[in-house]
Symmetry: C2
Subunit: 419 residues, 2 copies
């Protein structure tokens, strides 16, 4: 994998040029892309020209960054994973693209996405096993980082579309606090839920990238934050977990305890279980509105699974939606109790390793935290049957993104030394 | 003015056809538009063809509705009031356009807007006095309804861009609870603040339109809700008011008391004054991100006032932004106390009648309520010096849009009978 932090330091030192980094990417693309399909749009000539042109100021120093194809770009098509937008060229870049460029980043290309970031599988394969899904909906972002083709890649999470594919592909990722990153110019799925997230090789890489682009003090490299207090939960409302998920959590707990971290059991409030169920109501209601033009004018070009959720025969009523919003509000309020006394929750990133390609996997471990707006980090490092990765999820209170990253960095270091 | 509710009832009864309503609009346009400049884009042939085509199902029965030109439309250009987007044709309609059409509405045309819904005056004139501003930034929506060219018109409010122009132009308008209407496909100014609002001749008209389009039980015509409990505030944090503003509020208070409504004085919490000041910080920070592509690539095509606010030499820090968000959160929490025991607050819609065209007027009476997300209604009906309109603002608790509309309807009826 390409390590964003190391590369940025080498770029800053002049040990490598942006053009040199692009050639590393070109090599990896030549080797893996035809098989994996991680990119929706990639123009190597454009990329080489952009890398050669510049003077890059800002902490990224010319580091290339990929963007999920529901994020608008003016220089490359943006198709939202849908034939309705075949060849569509937006007028403007999304805010996150401009912010990345202002931080010295270089727009690498567009990462493959599920149709409108929902459940219809993207054409991307899992780099660890071509018969399995890389997860969704940020399929190309996760697979592209895992295959060494993207040093950093933006994705989005409305259900579990950042943390789940990161777990399946063995890469780090953060879904920051709600609206820490602006979604202006990102195709809306559900305005209460849509959250931009960032993928990289390791926790230090995503922390570095998020710090550089958001202008916030979020880096966790080169500093010792001490052992965190970790609250363990097995997400009782999320259904059954596969043995690999349980094993991964057990490994992490034992390693943390051995290393002297304080590991405590946490009882989750009943408001959280209710909110887990309310997520679907909010997504279905808002999605039906967000995609109302596509449904009204291009229904025949939508997948069956999308039509079924967002254009059902009996739509979600405003009463049901308002009730779900009330449940979400109460669950957010109940979060204060959960996070008092701990630095972060430690739990599963996904219900198991990547399943086959008939689905994009199960978001049961993620959607509550999307609705709560709390920062969540996928910690990579563990591999199970046939080398398949299985991540762990570290979650802190709203606005405590640095705390989540520091705890995740701690756990990641422990896992790296166990394998 | 064209009365939306009456027209919809006539359309339903078959007493008039959509094409007939279009001809009423065409007449008013012929009479007033060349002088006023309320439209950014209007294609009468397209409009006539659309009106003739249809079978309109849904409660609007073919009623034409105009949209502020920061709301995307696929069939007419969308220029956001900026030369950067000259002739721009979005791929898709905004969600609110599709929702309006699903309710039986007909897309009338695009209403003139200030550049990116900010402070640089739109070319529109005030229908009551060509030397004065119609207010901003929903200038065309307010003037178009006032001049009888639009039965209903959507605008947006990020500071005071719905309630203030409604007051200056003597029309009714509602800024509903935050996110009651989806802003998908609406150009972002500030994601914490941007709120779609609806203009019409009277309170019953905007209530009818909002009910039809949102699918919520919000109509206030033909029902007697009894006399509301009104809490009066003179917005001590909003600075000095012109005599017309004070006189309007006094007239309303006296009329309500005479009619048997309970009118009580309300003391506002200190959190609200702090939030009034925090509004600018949030708008400036989010606006700088929302417009980052335009600033990075087309700075020379932005107005001076926009550059000054969103591309300042010293940008708003993330710390200042986070502090402002915290202040807003505490102010929202403090709202519960204000609204307990009253149906609605009664206060000024604007600091006075419409000023001259060197500005779009002062949003001091509005921006707090945008930040709080509470529903606010402009009640028209009063006219002062030289016939200039001066509105009153009625505000209820978050989610209590029907209560705000019912109280506003009550106040409007009182004002109509005083003049």
């Amino acid at each position: 994998m390409l390590r964003a932090l190391d590369l940025a330091e080498a770029l800053e030192a002049g040990d490598v040029t942006p053009r040199g980094v692009v050639e590393l990417i070109v090599e990896a693309v030549a080797e893996r892309e035809a098989e994996l399909g991680a990119f929706a749009h990639l123009d190597l000539d454009l990329l080489r020209a952009a890398a050669s042109r510049g003077e890059f100021s800002g902490p990224l120093h010319g580091l290339p960054v990929a963007f999920k194809d529901i994020i608008d770009t003016a220089s490359l098509p943006t198709e939202y994973g849908s034939p309705i937008y075949k060849g569509w060229k937006p007028k403007a870049d999304a805010a996150i693209v401009t912010m990345t460029e202002a931080a010295g980043g270089l727009m690498l290309g567009k990462a493959a996405t599920c149709e409108f970031a929902f459940l219809n599988p993207a054409p991307t394969l899992n780099p660890f096993d071509a018969a399995r899904t890389p997860g969704g909906s940020s399929a190309g972002s996760a697979a592209g980082v895992a295959a060494g083709m993207m040093p950093l890649a933006f994705g989005t999470q409305t259900g579990g579309s950042v943390i789940r594919p990161a777990s399946y592909c063995g890469v780090a990722a953060i879904k920051p606090s709600f609206r820490l990153l602006p979604t202006v110019g990102v195709k809306t799925g559900a305005w209460t839920l849509d959250t931009l997230g960032l993928f990289g090789a390791r926790v230090v890489d995503v922390a570095f990238g998020l710090a550089a682009i958001s202008g916030r003090d979020l880096r966790v490299d080169g500093r010792d934050f001490g052992a965190p207090v970790l609250g363990v939960t097995r997400l009782p409302f999320a259904g059954a977990m596969a043995p690999e998920a349980e094993a991964a959590l057990d490994v992490a707990i034992r390693a943390a305890e051995r290393a002297g971290a304080s590991v405590v059991d946490v009882t989750l409030p009943p408001e959280w279980a209710a909110a887990q169920a309310a997520h679907a109501t909010i997504y279905s209601f808002e999605g039906a509105h967000a995609l109302s033009w596509e449904i009204a004018h291009h229904k025949d070009k939508l997948s069956g699974i999308l039509r079924q959720h967002f254009a059902p025969e009996v739509p979600i009523s405003v009463e049901a939606y308002d009730e779900a919003r009330g449940i979400a509000k109460r669950a957010r309020r109940a979060s204060h109790g959960v996070f008092s006394g701990i630095d972060a929750l430690l739990t599963y990133s996904a219900t198991g390793v990547a399943p086959d390609r008939s689905s994009t996997g199960d978001a049961a471990c993620n959607k509550l935290f999307t609705l709560l707006g709390t920062p969540a980090v996928n910690v990579p490092g563990l591999h199970f049957a046939e080398g398949l990765p299985m991540g762990l999820q570290v979650i802190s209170a709203f606005g405590e993104d640095h705390r989540a990253l520091a705890a995740a960095h701690y756990v990641e270091n422990l896992l790296m030394s166990t394998q």
